[in-house]
């Protein structure tokens, strides 16, 4: 019975067999870190603040369609194509969570609360999600899950001066805001780097150990 259950979970893990999900996630985190940094460093009335949302959406679309194009050219001809079931509740939950986080950040910024430690420790949730979604299939990736958790603790325990120094001049007057800006920036850099390393290793292994069969294979 366990073997049947394990067969049922195999297609879920196939999605990241080539490491492209992690590479996409890594580019997303590093791209977001760059956008965040530009937002922090540019004056509040600059044009950059007006177009940053479009830049973010552009980045997401680039990653989404870039990953799809690489899968079509490399993964599907080598190890096959899978189309997953579309469940109506997944996008609804994602949209609800996104709205909740955006609303919470809006309130936090307006009231200038210091939640920099909490923001860093959300990395623990990220590490758990990574462990459940990705590291369960490939054992060595638990090292990456552990590294994400450790990075969260390290960033959460950094002194305010260090985090504040990363933030913009305009937010220096608000120590809570400066710390939050700095910790979000550092978290994005740390998680993005780890995902890129892990995804890059997987992709390299995938290319080395798989080969497209001859054209009459299907």
């Amino acid at each position: 019975m366990d073997q049947v259950e394990s067969l049922l979970s195999r297609p879920k893990f196939y999605y990241n067999i080539d490491g492209l999900v992690e590479l996409g996630g890594g580019f997303m985190c590093l791209g977001s870190a760059l956008l965040w940094w530009l937002l922090m460093r540019s004056p509040a009335d600059s044009a950059w603040h007006q177009i940053s949302l479009f830049a973010f959406v552009g980045l997401m679309l680039l990653i989404r369609y870039g990953t799809k194009a690489i899968k079509t050219r490399i993964t599907y001809p080598r190890t096959g194509f899978v189309e997953y079931q579309r469940r109506w509740h997944s996008p609804v939950i994602a949209a609800a969570l996104g709205a909740l986080v955006t609303a919470s950040l809006y309130v936090v910024f307006r009231r200038q609360w210091d939640i920099s430690m909490l923001a860093s420790l959300t990395g623990l949730v990220f590490a758990a999600a990574y462990g459940y979604g990705i590291a369960r299939a490939v054992r060595w990736k638990w090292v990456i899950a552990g590294a994400i958790a450790v990075a969260s603790f390290v960033i959460a325990s950094l002194p305010s001066d260090v985090l504040g120094a990363l933030a913009s001049d305009s937010s220096v007057g608000h120590p809570g805001r400066a710390k939050l800006d700095g910790s979000i920036f550092l978290c994005l850099i740390a998680y993005g780097t780890m995902l890129l390393i892990s995804g890059g290793i997987s992709f390299w292994f995938y290319l080395r150990h798989t080969q497209a069969p001859a054209q009459d294979a299907q």
């Binding site: 019975m1 049947v4 067969l7 049922l8 979970s9 195999r10 297609p11 879920k12 196939y14 599907y76 001809p77 190890t79 096959g80 194509f81 899978v82 189309e83 997953y84 079931q85 579309r86 069969p213 054209q215 294979a217 299907q218």
Partner: protein, 98 residues
């Protein structure tokens, strides 16, 4: 007859065969997949996999559609509603027995 043996006797023979069980379980978790994916996951050769798929298609559990990916022919497979129902029933009975 012992009820446990009775349940075993009632297991769907078409799905119970190990090769076909693998195919049905893999297809149950997805919307559809191609032949290459099933071959990669089951480690069966083309002939064996084709014969299992033919048997499942005969029974109405699997729908086979042929298409092209660029210039390369592609065989897409998906579990029919009857196939999903049969597999769910098979799992339920197997759990009862175990």
């Amino acid at each position: 007859m012992n009820p446990q043996i009775q349940t075993i006797a009632e297991l769907d023979r078409v799905i119970h065969e190990p090769g076909r069980l693998m195919v049905v379980a893999l297809l149950f978790a997805v919307e559809r997949a191609d032949f290459l994916y099933l071959q990669h996951e089951t480690h069966m050769n083309k002939g064996t996999l084709s014969s299992h798929l033919s048997r499942l298609a005969e029974e109405g559990y699997v729908k086979v559609s042929k298409t092209y990916r660029g210039n390369v022919p592609q065989t897409l497979l998906c579990l029919t509603a009857a196939g999903r129902k049969a597999f769910e029933q098979y799992r339920r009975k197997l759990k009862e027995v175990l």
